[in-house]
Every structure is written in structure tokens, then in C-alpha cells.
Subunit: 410 residues, 2 copies
Amino acid sequence: MKDNYPISVSVEEGIDLILKETKIISICTESVENLDGRVLAKDVVSKENIPPFRRSPLDGYAMRSEDIKQASKENPVTLKIIEEVPAGHVATKAISKGEAIKILTGATIPDSADCVIKFEDTEFDSEKVTVFAPLKSGQNVVPAGEDVKIGDIVVKKGTKLTPSQVGLLAGLGCDKVEVYKKPSVTLISTGDELVEVREELKPGKIRNSSAYNLNSILERSGLNSKMYGIVKDTTQEIGDAIKKAFESSDMVITTGGVSVGDYDKIKDAISYIGGKIIYWKTKMKPGSAFLAATYNDKLFFGLSGNPAAAAVALHIVCMPAIRKMCGIEEYQHKVIQVHTLSDFKKKSPNRRYIPGKLVIENGKACILTAESQGNGMLSPLNNCDIIANIEAGNTGIEKDTLLDAVFIFR
Amino acid sequence: MKDNYPISVSVEEGIDLILKETKIISICTESVENLDGRVLAKDVVSKENIPPFRRSPLDGYAMRSEDIKQASKENPVTLKIIEEVPAGHVATKAISKGEAIKILTGATIPDSADCVIKFEDTEFDSEKVTVFAPLKSGQNVVPAGEDVKIGDIVVKKGTKLTPSQVGLLAGLGCDKVEVYKKPSVTLISTGDELVEVREELKPGKIRNSSAYNLNSILERSGLNSKMYGIVKDTTQEIGDAIKKAFESSDMVITTGGVSVGDYDKIKDAISYIGGKIIYWKTKMKPGSAFLAATYNDKLFFGLSGNPAAAAVALHIVCMPAIRKMCGIEEYQHKVIQVHTLSDFKKKSPNRRYIPGKLVIENGKACILTAESQGNGMLSPLNNCDIIANIEAGNTGIEKDTLLDAVFIFR
């Protein structure tokens, strides 16, 4: 069979080829209390001001600045208190010349006042308040709509909501909100060497660690992820498992069987079930063994059987498409530059990705990498929050080199 | 009643006073698939190596380096293939002089071999393989225990687990793992000005946004958070609500009623139910209106009725204690330094906290702050991932000043 798909493409080409086949999942409605981390499916335009009225930011006395403009220590001005307005209430009287209203934090400032004085800066009893300095018009007056104005787009479609945005939506009375459905993904583990966590470890076997890592990454990224378990290394068994997994999933991911060995059955399995291969192999290390495909318009990723390589390919090559599937508007990687904290001697014939921890000291952003970076190792990923890259053809870099990097779990 | 608790303490003192009263919640057992973000309650010591055996990192031929040390393009060495070992299997024969074993990625390298050659670098048929260059002893041999060695502390007690650590624990056969219970917290909103999201907005009223923001922050921080709703501004109603909330919670947090106004009932409510005040008011802006207390050895926080001030106090003053409650070993703030991207003209008589977004370009870490930083505003918090601070007494800072900052949601 002739291969009619690209083989060994660059990371950028790979991401683009996959994004072209990526579709956003449908929309659903979610209650405001469950919105954190969900992706908004429609712009939210405010129908109200926050705050809805001119608000007092402190406990004190609302008055006319005109009345106290001559006030000083030597010539204090005493005003008559005509009413008291706690938060949640409104004044029933208007302030005339020589009058003030006692006002509490959060209460509506009456239209007849243009400033509020802190009670600590006055002398007062229940009937009168004495002021020792003038106030500017507008002083201690929080304007209506300071936080949000009517007609403001409060949060844009495609935004992954943060806690304060959840608070804002609640404050605007958004009880139910349209968000994108969380995509569902099933992880299938292939490889005759694998046994499950709960099984005995026989000679030549290793336990399935990769699925648990990938499952956690996908859940953190806003998907509903489930693990199918381990499937035998035959085209038919793998193909049947993928087909079955797609019945209940928006995306299927396998590990193992995507390099060039005799037992690498993923490509055959995709053909066997009638899937369409997008491309095979990415020019990167780790993670070059990789297959992207579609099945009934849904995305399929075949990741390496090597746990670290699988994780790096998922973060670097698949995440833009996963973010797009989730409905996130800014789905492309945001690239930062970080300094290396140590030499890195290895040659990089292909682009090399190095996971590490972002360290910031005195305004300088650096990447702290694990000392040992074995290809199969999960442990260097333990405390990583960024992945930096070294360009192809590099023969080794020195400490304090500036590298491009992307955040993971964002 | 005489106040016998500290009033208006520094942020550092406040954090310390609260930490002294903070207890870790109890331990429970969790299945490995649900471990991401949970906090380990015991060191996990490996009883196995990962990988458990010398592993081939590629598809090729295992052989004795001794046999091919003279190999070259001109004088290739041909070896007899005596067996094939796929991943998950072990060799049944030992390699003698002039012999090789076909080996697949992930398979056990037999003890009789000391190197593996990539199949692409050979010529081969089903019976023999020809090598054109020597290999070093150990070449392409992944040693047993490369990732984890027997006796290694794989993950320490008090670690908030990451996806790769979940993978590692699965790989070591940790089916059920002891973690700290998620603390439960109830949020009570006070303030006669508040109405619920679903209610009509009458004059003088504002909708409860703060509880939804804080609820999301607490959930993200690893707690089980619930919202009690809005309670009337009376000592008895607030006290009864706090008492009731503590029946089903490890921690209770209120908003509103902690400054010095006549309607600030939280302190009275704590006394009314027999709680013990830790301290009142923190020397910071926003968020100075704050009360920390204990009730039956459990923590209580009274946050400001101002949503932004409440969020900043929660992040800065309460989070170390919350992390400690969760069992996290490194519960103190990790301080970074970031450059400001704009002037900041306001005076800071007390220490001032400014939420912002971490921006990294060319290895320089900066804080991007919202243009408007109104005290009551939630919107400047929308895209924040760090909170920087300006020291007390500062009269304004210029662009490119280096400020201390802490990450939020970590």
C-alpha cells in the first residue's frame, strides 16, 4: 500500500496539519458555581453596572463638598445628621446646605451628596458631625460601573474562565451560562510488555505508568479522560479497541506501536478500521514516534510507548488541537524565553525538547532541568511546568543560553 | 470587653499567628487514577526498579561489543541471529561468540549481550545481521532502575502530586495510596446589601459575586468548598450560621463585617459562639479588614466585604495555612521578583498588593497589571497569576522596578 500521507514533518507543520482536522465540541449550559476552568461559548455582555450605584467605600458621612470647603482645624464645620444609610439601603431624604447623612461601607451615596468623609477624620455624635478639612467633589465616591459598565463585554467567547471571572458573572446575574462541552477522551495502552498496576510483575514486563500520567494531564487540561486498559499487540485487537473507544469518545489516544518495528501495529489498525492518517512521525526528540489520524471526523493520536516521549508529544504537538477542541480561542502555544541554568552537552540532530521547572530570581526567568534526562524517564517531568527546546543541528549549549519554551498545564 | 488579641499586625506576623493554629486534616486512601493534585501522606519508597530490567530503547540486534570491535565498512562483521525477543518477552538462549538476538523496543536485553544496534544501521535477513561499525559496551542499553531504583524515595510525604508522579506511582504498583483528606470549607456571605445571583436587583443592593470567586479559588486550591448563602447582618444570625457551618466543615470563611463600622458583626459573632480571635486587621492594602479566629480548634477567616480585598487577603494571608491544612510540606509562599511594566503613582502608606499577569520575554520576568486597580474591582484579577507587593512607605514606583511577588493557584 502506498503511503499517501506526510511522513516526518516539523513540529509546526504537524500542529497545523492536526489543527486543520480539529473541530470544537458542542455547547452546553452550566450553573455559575461550576464555571471555573470551563470555556465560554458566547460573549457575555453586561446588562448592569457593577456597582449598580455610587457606592461608599467606607464608614463615614456623605455631604456636599461645597459646605465644607472652608473647614479647617481652626474653623471646623459642623453639619446636622439627617439620616443613617447602612449598606443595602437608600437614603429617603435629600441633603440640604449644612446637612450630612451617616453612611456605611457599601451603601448608596445619595444624589444630593458629592463626597464622603471617613468617620475617623471627624468628631461626631448621633445628631451632628464636625469636619476639620475640606474634601474634593467626588472624594471617596466609588462611581457606578467602576468594575463593569452596561454594554461591556465582560468575558469573551473562547475564554477559559478564572475564579474572578466566575465571580464577575455571578455579580452580573448570570445564573446559567453557555459553555463548550468537555471533550471526552479514551486512552488505550498497547504493548505486550505492559501489565496493570494491580498485576504481578513477571520477567520482561513493566507496569503501565504512561496511561496514568497522560490521563492526569488530559483531566487537568479540561477533558473527561478514561483509561481503556491494555490491548494485545495485534492489528485487529488494537483496531477493534480504537473503534469501540470512539463510540463513547470525542478523541482516542493510544500509546505504543508507532515507530517502525515489526510490532508497531497502530498504523495498520487505523487502516483496518477505515481511519485516515494525517501524518506519521514528528521531527523532534523525544516523541518522534507519533501518528495523527481521524476516524469519523474525530481526532486520533498514536503516542510513543515511551512514557516521557508520549508526554512531551502530547504537550507539544497535541495540546494546541486539544485546546481548540475545548473551544479555547487562544489555542496556540504562547512562547516565552528562558535562560538555561546549566550546560547541555548532547547533540540535537532534530529539535530537542527539555522539560524543566520555571525559576524566577531577580526578574530573570530560567529553566531548571533534572540532572538526568533519560528518554524513558518520567521522573524528570515531576516538577516541570515548562518545556524548552533546542533547535535542530545544535551541538550543545552553554549555561545562560536563551531558549524558547512553553508552559504546560495552561 | 478588653481586646486580648493582636490588632493590625504585619502580613508576616499574621501568617505566622495563623500557622500556629493550623492543623493538618486526617489521612485517607485514594486509588492511583484519582491522585493528581492530591497530597501524599507518607513517603513512597520504591520496592522495584523502573525499568525492572536492562531494556532496549530501540528495535535492533543485541550482541557482544567484543564480537564487532573490528567492524568497518570495508570489513563488516556478520552475526547469526539465534532468537527474536519482542517487548514483554525474555530470551531463552544465551548469545555466544558470533551470535546476535533480534530485539524490539522495550524488550529485556539478555545478560549475554552488552550492546544493541539499531536495525537501520545494519543489513539483515531473518537468519543473519551484518554490522559496519563497532559499538561501545553499554551502547543503547537502558540500565535497570534508570528511572527509579529500589529504595529510592520516589515521592515525599507532603508533595502535591503531579501527573508524572501519578504515572510513577502506577508504574511502581501503588494501587491505593495514603493521602491527606481534602479540607472542607463553607463560605458565608454577610451584608444587607447583598442579593443572590438569581434574585432581582433592588435599589441599594448588589449581587453576591465574592462568594463565587472565593469558592472557585478554594476549589482550585484543593479544598471541598461550599457556599452557605447570604446571612443577615446581626450578631446572632451570623454566629448561628458560623456554628452550623462548622458542624460540617474543617474551616469557615465569611465575607463582610470585619472593619470598624457599626454593622461589622463578625467579631461579636465569634465571641457569641465562643470562638477565639487570633488577630484582627492586617497591615496591607487591599485586604486590611480581616479577622482570623479558631472555633473548636478549627480555623475561621473573616474576609472583607470588598471582593478584590477578600481575594487578595485569601491568597496572601490565608493560603499558607490552607496549604498546611492540606498537608503540603512547602506551605510558605515562594517569592519571586518581577519587573514592573509601567509606573505606579499611588502612595503606599501600608504594604500594597497588586495582582497581575506574569509576562516573560527574552528571559525577563515582568508583571503586567490592569490599568485600573479600583479597590472593589474583581476585573483586574481576571488574568492574574501573580500578586506583587510594594513596601509600606513607598511614594510611587517607576517602570522597570523589581518587586517581590508570589504565584497564585500553585
